[in-house]
């Protein structure tokens, strides 16, 4: 089903103040409710190649997969909605593409990318992520981080070795423990959450959350949520004003109205016809 009427999607990406290349990639497909953000890594332009491959492969493969399957229908194997399997399969396809390119072409050796993918369907959002690109949610004035980084820092925080405050000044900010395209296979972390009309989702690369405090990000979403384009620009600008040491990318997704899967409506129509 077409979700263009239910979702407002705005994205912005910027090389920042220090880097000459932009290794981040963003892509979205409002009709299918798919948004993808990737932050590539690797020498020369390999980072751009990896993140670019991740976003294009996932968006195009998702289009095909969704044309042939309904994400809300139960998966015959697990009885869970198909969505998780669809997303996981496309993420693995992207992983294989990047890994093979890295293996076959010496200039791409070792390239990889972080990833956060959202699939909106049936009043739900399915989130898959790998690495330290994040998803945040602003709902009814409350701003919170949805994903948990796959990073050394997060592991240190979880095990109580350091406090989140110390983490801000850690020198290991750049070390992720999972990435797409580095190994022949990868396990994306997948969760599903119900959405509500009015929700504002923010996907971002570490170039934003390393440079701007969560508090300020939340305040910006709250203040400028009425104008997503301006909000995205403002977030990028804040990261750059604070030093802009990394590429900065954001995707904002506003849930304009509820979008239950067609089955509900169709079932009602059929019931009414009887």
């Amino acid at each position: 089903m077409d979700l263009t009427h239910a979702l407002e999607i705005v994205s912005s990406t910027d090389p920042g103040m220090v880097r000459s290349h932009n290794e981040d990639s963003v892509a979205s497909d409002a009709a299918n409710g798919v948004v993808v953000l990737a932050d590539g890594m690797g020498g020369y332009n390999a980072g751009e190649v990896a993140s670019g491959m991740a976003t294009t492969v996932i968006v195009t493969e998702m289009q095909q997969a969704l044309a042939g399957a309904q994400p809300h229908q139960p998966d015959p194997q697990t009885q869970q909605p198909m969505a998780a399997r669809i997303v996981r399969e496309q993420v693995l396809k992207a992983n294989t593409s990047i890994y093979q390119a890295a293996q076959s072409q010496p200039q791409y050796a070792g390239m990889g990318t972080t990833l956060v993918v959202c699939l909106f369907y049936d009043d739900r959002v399915l989130v898959a992520h790998i690495g330290d690109s994040r998803l945040y949610l602003l709902r009814a004035g409350e701003f919170k981080q949805v994903t948990r980084d796959h990073s050394l820092l997060q592991e240190q925080i979880d095990s109580g070795l350091i406090t989140p405050e110390q983490a801000k000044h850690s020198q290991h900010k750049n070390l992720v423990t999972r990435a797409l395209g580095i190994d022949p296979t990868v396990e994306p972390e997948i969760h599903e959450y119900p959405t509500k009309a009015g929700d504002l989702y923010l996907l971002c690369s570490d170039g934003l959350c390393d440079m701007v405090d969560d508090e300020d990000i939340g305040m910006t979403l709250q203040a400028l949520g009425g104008n997503l384009k301006l909000c995205a620009q403002q977030l990028v600008q804040m990261a750059n004003d604070n030093g802009g040491r990394d590429n900065v990318s954001v995707i904002l997704v506003r849930v304009l109205r509820e979008f239950p899967a067609a089955r509900g409506v169709m079932a009602k129509v059929f019931a009414w016809l009887k």
Partner: protein, 272 residues
Amino acid sequence: MAKLILSMDGLVLKEIPLSKERTTIGRKPHNDIQIDNLAVSGEHAVIVTILNDSFLEDLGSTNGTVVNGNPIKKHFLQNNDVVELGKYKLKFVAEAAAPAAEKADFEKTMVLRPSAMKAAAEQAKAMAAAGGAAAGQAAAVAQRAAAVQQAGASAAATGTADKDAKSAPAAAPAAAAAAPARPAQPLGAIQLLSGGNAGKELELNKPLTTLGKPGVQVAVLTRRPQGYFITHVEGANRPTVNGAQIGAAPHALKDHDVIELAGVKMEFFLKG
């Protein structure tokens, strides 16, 4: 090389590299740093630089030398110390670490590959066991942390542990990322000139402040290193600054600009 930044009233006058062993400060022209102000003594103070360390010494000046608000006779200068001589300020900036490009490399996102890490962790464990250190209670993550250091130190040499290590881009960054520097800038505020709350003042101490009535007209005031900006957010009409309607792009605000928004007039001013 360490340097001093001479400023007055927040205005940077010049930068002085501490290239000599003795750098003298005073009012008389023969000083290395001459500050022509009556509050400064003829021979006021001297900075002695030995390798990377700089010491500031007051030469019995009439008005004294103040560092970070405390009067001193002799002081070992630390990065970002502010030396006050009358109205003048000298900020001490220690030697910059790595050049920007190099630093950026350290900040690049990198993957810790589990295989490489495991090898390094085992190595670390073996070392710890050999040393009899209390590794038993260390969490797996702690080992991983150690592994990072190891993996970094031997990123290229892990070939023996992991045949794919040639592509393992793990390296521990040498320098901690400096906290984002919030540049000192004058604080702005707005005072309402009309409407029910006329006379009320609002300090603009947040990175952004929204003004107006949602659904009617909203603008945002952003605080940036370059100063304050007003941007139109929503509403059919854009706000006016000094009687002229602003464009779609952010509009820089000057001291004493008058803004009109949702029928309310207000004055922007800098508190200094």
